[in-house]
């Protein structure tokens, strides 16, 4: 049995090779270019420029701010909606299809074109608000899906127990439902927050000069063939992504540990 298992593992080899060439190596190239002077040779000045040149770090901070704002709005909208949808006796698959799959059918830029038309009709195109609306419109399903899934699959016996033991609706929600849906919330946050970093097309098309995201800056630098400066910004972005992932993983783990401590073993982890 084992011997055969090894035999079939061979089929992973082509992908392993392709991954090294097209996924891992390009990341090393980004690092290499970030530490290169435009004239060639090693240099720290391009990377230092990210943190000393105000236009760079302001753009970076603005991107983080906009991503946080869009994520927060998505969460505040998605949680109650997911809660209501999960509590109502709907067909789970139909809800997911209607809210999640169908909007994905259409090209994202054509959806942005449609949204832009509506926002100009309302007279608010090319404003800060329009850019945020665009991000929320685009990423909302990614927040809704994990929260909805975690709420639908929730073990109801905890809430029922709380209810039986005399806790009010609010206490029951705060002490059982909310903690048990934390994994869904966390995964929703990562699924919205991180893609916001790259969603510069949305804020470009809908927003104004105050909503230019870091991705746009990198694109412009690459258009100008300033590969070193562009790579330096990309490297900082890469580190930010890794940090976000790390924080997310730590929070998930802590949540799981806390869950088992309060005798709710893995009820959350299983949902993801």
């Amino acid at each position: 049995m084992r011997k055969r298992a090894v035999g079939k593992g061979i089929f992973a080899l082509p992908y392993a090779a392709v991954c090294v060439i097209f996924v891992v190596f390009p990341l090393l190239l980004v690092v290499a270019y970030a530490f290169r002077a435009p004239e060639g040779g090693f240099s720290l000045s391009t990377l230092a420029d990210v943190f000393t040149n105000p236009s760079n770090y302001i753009s970076l901070l603005r991107t983080i701010g906009i991503a946080l704002l869009a994520t927060a709005i998505c969460l505040l909208l998605a949680y109650p909606i997911a809660f209501i949808l999960a509590a109502s006796p709907f067909n789970k698959i139909a809800v997911l299809a209607l809210l999640f799959v169908i909007p994905m059918w259409m090209n994202f830029m054509l959806r942005m074109f449609a949204l832009q038309s509506i926002l100009s009709m309302m007279g608010i195109a090319n404003t800060f608000a329009a850019a945020i609306i665009g991000l929320v419109y685009d990423f909302f399903p990614f927040m809704l899906l994990p929260i909805y899934t975690s709420l639908v699959n929730l073990d109801r016996s905890y809430s029922e127990a709380a209810d039986d033991l005399g806790a009010g609706a609010v206490t029951t929600f705060l002490r059982t439902t909310l903690p048990l849906s934390v994994p869904g919330i966390l995964s929703g946050i990562t699924m919205v927050f991180m893609p916001c970093f790259s969603a510069y097309a949305v804020t470009d098309v809908l927003g104004n000069s105050d909503t230019t995201l870091i991705g746009r800056k990198i694109a412009v630098l690459f258009d100008l063939q300033e590969w070193e400066a562009g790579s330096a910004l990309s490297l900082v972005l890469l580190v930010l992504v890794m940090l976000t992932m790390l924080i997310g993983t730590l929070l998930q783990r802590r949540n799981k540990a806390k869950g088992s401590a309060s005798a709710v073993p893995n009820a959350g982890g299983r949902l993801l």
């Binding site: 055969r4 090894v6 035999g7 991954c19 190239l29 006796p89 090209n107 054509l110 959806r111 590969w227």
Partner: protein, 285 residues
């Protein structure tokens, strides 16, 4: 208890309807105004097919559309083959190697898309300028890049099917003298077809939707995403309304057919399996 359930049902319906209205209102407006002579959506005009007629003459937009579909279909097919074979390979790897490969396949999924896009651009520079390989931005390179960013999703779609496989069937294939490759093609793959189809659909949609990786690596080639993006920043021909409508309706029809066909085929497969191999049915439970 019943009253509470009813209340949740009513509020649930209300929320669902409002959400659908908000989500589909912009698309519905575009579809409506694709038949209107109004210059801006929301303005007044008369009924016309002018934007559809204009679409036929708009070569740049048609080119972008064809490119989008060629890239989507070709990269989707390659990704489906590569992703399925890899999913099988990864599934049968030992624990340590398995987690390394799983992590590697998640890099592009987790990473900021801009960084992935930059990486592909730099790789193309490196292959051309340092290794003097005949690589350049454009169609071919976009197909490579789109394949790489969609393979992880095919793996995600196929892997759950693998864990439902009856291991006895592959064992039987091997016992009867088929080698690894033959077992893969004649025993394992036929059971994965459903996962492969949904993997392809996912890869195709993601490729169609992609903007950032395409923008960085397209060279002179345009896709719908990049064409509309440039148009929205400068001036956009109203034929885009007609294109949006056609694509929305086409995809709707394809999806409905796909679902009808898919469910019938699935029903047939179950029947056949029940008749021919009672072992596998028992194994499934």
């Amino acid at each position: 208890m019943n009253g509470k359930k009813l209340a949740f049902k009513i509020v649930g319906w209300a929320v669902l309807v409002i959400m659908l209205l908000v989500m589909y209102f912009p698309i519905a407006m575009v579809i409506g105004y694709s038949f209107s002579s109004a210059k801006a959506i929301g303005g007044s005009g008369h009924f016309t097919f002018a934007w559809y007629a204009g679409l036929i003459k708009d070569e740049a937009l048609l080119d972008a559309t064809v490119n989008t579909f060629v890239i989507g279909i070709v990269s989707g097919l390659i990704a489906t083959v590569l992703g399925t074979v890899s999913a099988v390979g990864i599934y049968y790897l030992k624990r340590g190697r398995k987690s390394v490969m799983n992590a590697a396949s998640q890099i592009t999924v987790v990473n900021a898309e801009v960084v992935t896009a930059v990486g592909f651009y730099l790789l193309q520079l490196f292959l051309r300028d340092t290794l003097h390989l005949p690589v350049e931005e454009g169609m071919g390179w976009l197909i490579v890049a789109h394949t790489m960013i969609t393979v992880p999703y095919v793996i995600l779609a196929v892997t759950p099917r693998l864990s439902q496989l009856n291991p006895n069937l592959a064992e039987a294939g091997m016992d009867l003298g088929a080698g690894s490759v033959r077992t893969l093609f004649t025993v394992i793959l036929p059971q994965l077809v459903k996962g492969m189809i949904s993997g392809f659909a996912l890869a195709f949609t993601l490729s169609l939707d992609d903007f950032v990786v395409t923008k960085f690596n397209k060279g002179d080639v345009s896709t719908i995403s990049t064409y509309v993006y440039d148009g929205l920043k400068h001036s956009l021909n109203n034929s885009v309304r007609a294109l949006s409508t056609i694509i929305f309706v086409a995809v709707l029809v394809i999806m409905i057919l796909f679902n009808l066909f898919g469910s019938r085929k699935n029903a047939g497969a179950t029947k056949k399996r029940k008749r021919k191999t009672p072992v596998s049915v028992a194994g499934d439970q």
